[in-house]
Symmetry: C2
Subunit: 213 residues, 2 copies
């Protein structure tokens, strides 16, 4: 119903509205917001109107109200329990990232298959053996499964998540997971992000070289 293009803009609105609140601005027009955020005023109004009439003609938008609406739309009025599978660099970074806890994301378990990591404590949470994952998920309601294992093991972990009824996966492994239609996967493919950077860094040369041929 709502296009992915719109959905991906929502968190950015959320972020800019948070900043307006920090700066004690309590009213904003689509035109003003447009100048800050870099979308057209028209697009901003279209986007908001997907979800309701949040503005007021002649006035604009009440910042705090709009912020609350978008928070609700993003599902930030709930708490989420998560598990992290893979306690390597990225897994630990996420586990240590306290900002997520403030936003309502709680880590209920961290798992790894490396015996050197099992038993390690990351912010009060002891890393468990991944063999215990399935049992753990039977006894604990988990909303979001986070995958930060190497590529080769990622699908196996996803399968356990799916089997255990997890409906949302945040995947850091460089692979496209296969899951049923009712399971949502959000990928963070760091390597792909970096390669778009190098592409753009070289783009000019690329076409200059082609001309020479």
């Amino acid at each position: 119903m709502i296009s992915m293009a719109v959905i991906r803009r929502l968190p950015k609105y959320h972020r800019y509205l948070a900043e307006l609140i920090r700066n004690d601005i309590d009213r904003i027009s689509s035109k003003e917001l447009s100048e800050k955020i870099g979308f057209t005023a028209s697009q901003i109004r279209q986007d908001f109107n997907c979800f309701g009439d949040f503005g007021q003609q002649g006035y604009g938008y009440n910042v705090r109200e709009l912020y609350n609406e978008i928070s609700r739309i993003l599902g930030l009025n709930t708490e989420y329990s998560t598990v992290i599978v893979g306690a390597g660099n990225i897994g630990q970074a996420i586990a240590n990232y306290t900002r997520f806890e403030k936003q309502g994301f709680f880590i209920k378990g961290i798992f790894d298959k490396n015996p050197k990591l099992v038993g390690l404590k990351i912010r009060d949470i002891e890393v468990k053996d991944v063999e215990e994952l399935e049992d753990f998920l039977k006894n604990n309601k988990i909303d979001i499964g986070i995958i930060s294992v190497p590529r080769e093991q990622a699908q196996k972990v996803a399968n356990i998540f799916v089997k255990s009824g997890i409906k949302a996966i945040w995947n850091f492994a460089p692979i496209d997971l296969e899951v049923p239609d009712d399971v949502i996967v959000e990928n963070v493919h760091l390597s792909e992000s970096l390669l778009t950077l190098t592409y753009r860094l070289n783009e000019a040369n690329l076409f200059a070289k082609n001309k020479q041929k």
Copy 2:
């Protein structure tokens, strides 16, 4: 010239071609690739044709040849020197991620302002005080600047990068950096990624609730 939509697909082609090579497949048609990668065959041919005629009628594409072409297009035939500013969770995770080094990305320096982190060794590289950053950049040719400091300090770091002539920034701070037109910024906004996940997890409820009103 090449649209961002195409550019963002390139690393995915690269990844799938690497897998085909691992599986000893040396020829593939756009139709077969389409079934694996999930883009239409038409789109795949359009994408490749932005950069040249890599295929052959009646045959398809030579996997290794295509892989090499896309590697070159992505700028992977060069080495890149990088610095990481911010030696917290994410900074350390990136520094420890050895896969990048295999792809040709070398970390020449890590900086932080926290005295507790300064002096720490991450894979042979000693974390330096961020005060030394500008001098360091004067004496070392750096291609990519990586920002993994908190939001409040990110723009300041970006300014130093720009001033020092760095043309590519990989930014992990939750902020849109302001840089001149000739500087490329690639953002990894983890929080925004997570919020699109929670949005989709709640989307069904969202519209069910609206109906009740």
